[in-house]
Amino acid sequence: MINLTINRLKVSVEEGTTLLEASRFYGFPIPTLCYDEGLSPYGACRLCVVEIGDEKKAKLVSSCTYPAEEGLRVRTASSRVVGARKMILELLLASCPQSKIIQDLASAHGIRQQRFRQEYEDCILCGLCVRMCEEQMMAKAIGFRGRGENRSIGTPFDIKSEVCRLCGGCIYVCPACQLRCTYTEPENAICGGCENLSPPCLEKERFDNMMCYMDPCVSCEIRKR
């Protein structure tokens, strides 16, 4: 067992536990976007930052990838952590304003405006769908492509992958609804969920350029209200 302090509370966790798991286990909430219990941690969204160490040596680390260490002092909600998180959320809002998940998180952190040039991306490159496809579905149909500004997620050559089983797992985990409904373009369809619903969805024609409206999707929730 490893002993450490989280927000001045002395706790002990098993070796190999990450700071995120430990904090959540002891009841300290840490927001995440790219973390999923069934998938390997990736540290892409940086929302889970926590502060470790003391005074001058204190630094911010992503808790989802940082393993618990003996005697570590962790602060999950210091002013520095909250400030960094707010900035990250503002940046996420600037790139992906349509995502309900990001909107909710921003609202919960008291962000009322964002100061950056507004873009309308539909992907935050968190890699959840890539890991879902590889680790849970054993398919590896989608992956990262390009780099820098041109980095994107999708299938090789932008054509339907032979190994894709249209499981829809990528859309299920997506926090930004990047893989929007592709019903009208069966050639690059990744989901196909609406065709397989029972009873079949009668409104699917209306969603040609909308985000996917399957179970976790945000546009559906918005529409219901």
Binding site: K140, A141, R145, G146, R147, P156, F157
Partner: protein, 282 residues
């Protein structure tokens, strides 16, 4: 694209399937881009998923997934070249070639690209054509560079390159000289031999300059064809025993006047050769 070429490249890298980048580099060298089919074969043979291979291929800027032209012009837009007007030079290239950076001309002869630094900032603005550097390029010189690129820079400049020297060669069987003083190549008498390939039979004149690959022929020999060489005097075949270290085709031996032997590769386009001098008179 020939799947067998890809398989041969993969064969060269057998034993270490982690060499994806060097495999892709070899494919790119052969085809000047990465064909989709090739990536699929690589993925299958290295037992990786296509996503991984595609990720690597699209990550590195030196890999191209689109077919490229015969010649590649890279205009440097690094900081030093930028402040000396690299942008204007790139624009001028675009205007002259009628394409924008990253594109290939419709005749598929020239691809234009911009790069971010070539590490020769003191010489800027720099333009690189097929590995040949042009320094202090001005907009007026762009036309000249394009012309040189079209002609091809692999041709050697006989007058200025001191590594080139002429050889006089003769047949290893009858010892008759191959030198043809009626026809000059690169300013020196040419080497005349007869060749056969694919049912055709005709003369070929080679440059006698060691290091020059200039050639003149009766019938155009397609690249990659292995041809048989014959002596025009005794009509015996010039067949060697060793094979080319580059492409494994048979080497063609000729006797060098003054003592020694020169061997050239019998494959058209292959630059494999060997010079073995016994006595050097300077």
């Amino acid at each position: 694209m020939n799947p067998e070429h890809i398989l041969a490249i993969l064969e060269n890298h057998r034993g270490d399937l982690g060499e994806v980048i060097s495999i892709l580099e070899d494919i790119q060298t052969k085809y000047s881009y990465l064909p989709e089919e090739a990536l699929r074969i690589v993925a299958q043979k290295t037992r990786r998923s296509l996503v991984d291979i595609y990720g690597v291929a699209s990550f590195y800027k030196s890999f191209s997934l689109k077919p490229r032209g015969k010649h590649l012009i890279s205009v440097c837009l690094g900081t030093a070249c930028h402040v000396r007007g690299g942008q204007g030079i790139a624009k001028e290239f675009e205007r002259q070639l009628g394409i924008s950076a990253g594109q290939t001309t419709s005749e598929k002869d020239i691809t234009l690209e911009t790069v971010n630094c070539l590490g020769a900032c003191a010489l800027g603005p720099i333009v690189v054509v097929d590995g040949h550097y042009f320094s202090n390029v001005s907009q007026q010189r762009v036309k000249d560079v394009v012309q040189k690129a079209r002609v091809g820079l692999d041709r050697v400049d006989v007058k200025t390159d001191e590594r080139l020297f002429p050889l006089e060669v003769s047949c290893p069987r009858c010892n008759h000289s191959f030198m043809d003083r009626t026809r000059y190549i690169d300013g020196y008498p040419s080497i005349r031999v007869t060749v056969t390939f694919g049912g055709k039979h005709g003369w070929v004149r080679l440059s006698c300059l060691y290091g020059s690959y200039s050639v003149d022929h009766e019938y155009k020999v397609p690249t990659d064809t292995v041809v048989n060489f014959f002596c025009p005097h005794c009509h015996g075949e010039l067949a060697g025993v060793s094979s080319c270290s580059e492409c494994a085709a048979l080497m063609v031996p000729m006797i060098v006047r003054g003592g020694g032997m020169v061997q050239i590769c019998s494959r058209r386009g292959c630059k494999g050769h060997m010079l073995d001098l016994t006595r050097i008179k300077v």
